[in-house]
Subunit: 64 residues, 6 copies
């Protein structure tokens, strides 16, 4: 029943998300010893203008 939640900058392809779900699930299963079918992963794409670090918007610090 474990839940893995990922917040990352918007922009990954479905192919990258597919790999992410597969690899995070494998990592969890190996480290914590659970049935892979019970693992859920929820991905949240975050705009750079919705993410701040060091007091600055990422869209200002790391423009595309």
């Amino acid at each position: 029943m474990p839940i893995i939640r990922v917040e990352m900058f918007k922009g990954r392809t479905v192919e990258q998300k597919r790999a992410l779900v597969r690899r995070l699930t494998e990592a969890f299963v190996t480290a914590a010893g659970v049935n892979p079918d019970s693992v859920q992963v929820v991905i949240t794409d975050v705009d750079k203008s919705d993410w701040g670090s060091g007091g600055q918007l990422a869209s200002d610090k790391f423009p595309d």
Copy 2:
């Protein structure tokens, strides 16, 4: 002041969300004994390509 947060597949109508907010609030009030005015509900619609289970994207397992 309780907060209820819902993550579910994208695709519910506003009418379903209206019912969801009403029913979840009633359920909380009945079970936990609080004033309904204090209950907040935040709904997050998740794309099937952002949700994984069993190591696979839901968009692959349950295509529309």
Copy 3:
């Protein structure tokens, strides 16, 4: 696969949490039309000294 997450003040009994899980799940199933087995509920108990509203700690506003 829906996930319901509840944050509330610490202090509910296991009996209240049991009722909460049952009733929130029923509410979700009725409003959104999913299989109850797919619904997960995660409860987080929050200390009043970890919850603020209106700029004040709940432990100051609502002492036990």
Copy 4:
């Protein structure tokens, strides 16, 4: 490494989000005594039709 997460109604401008990230980071640094560079802020815009309080959708209670 602290993480500040904000959920608010959709509709703020990038300028307001820029101010929000700067001010929340300053507030955190002043109150908790950490290096500002370590503070992350993630903003989530929520539609009024995804937010309920008192059992009602905010889009019904507070139409635009």
Copy 5:
């Protein structure tokens, strides 16, 4: 109705949390223009052995 959620290392005093709630609320009100009474803040204390960065537990990187 905005919700501010803070995750930080365990160890702050109630006095620091009181200041944090007050200052984060003020920051939000100033930047986003809402009524302070509507702002909620939920603080989560995280053990260093529950926080990783760069692939390492914070309890290993920054022992007390």
Copy 6:
């Protein structure tokens, strides 16, 4: 700056959490192509009496 958040049943050892942080970070780096130093992982241990599925508390369904 990605954030990975894990919710799982309480009971894993620090050694398992250390492996979890390392493996989830590697999985993320491989699938999404970021610098490992930027990846944060926050683990939340959840009591079985705070987790429900199928309308029942996990502490009732899966007693220790």
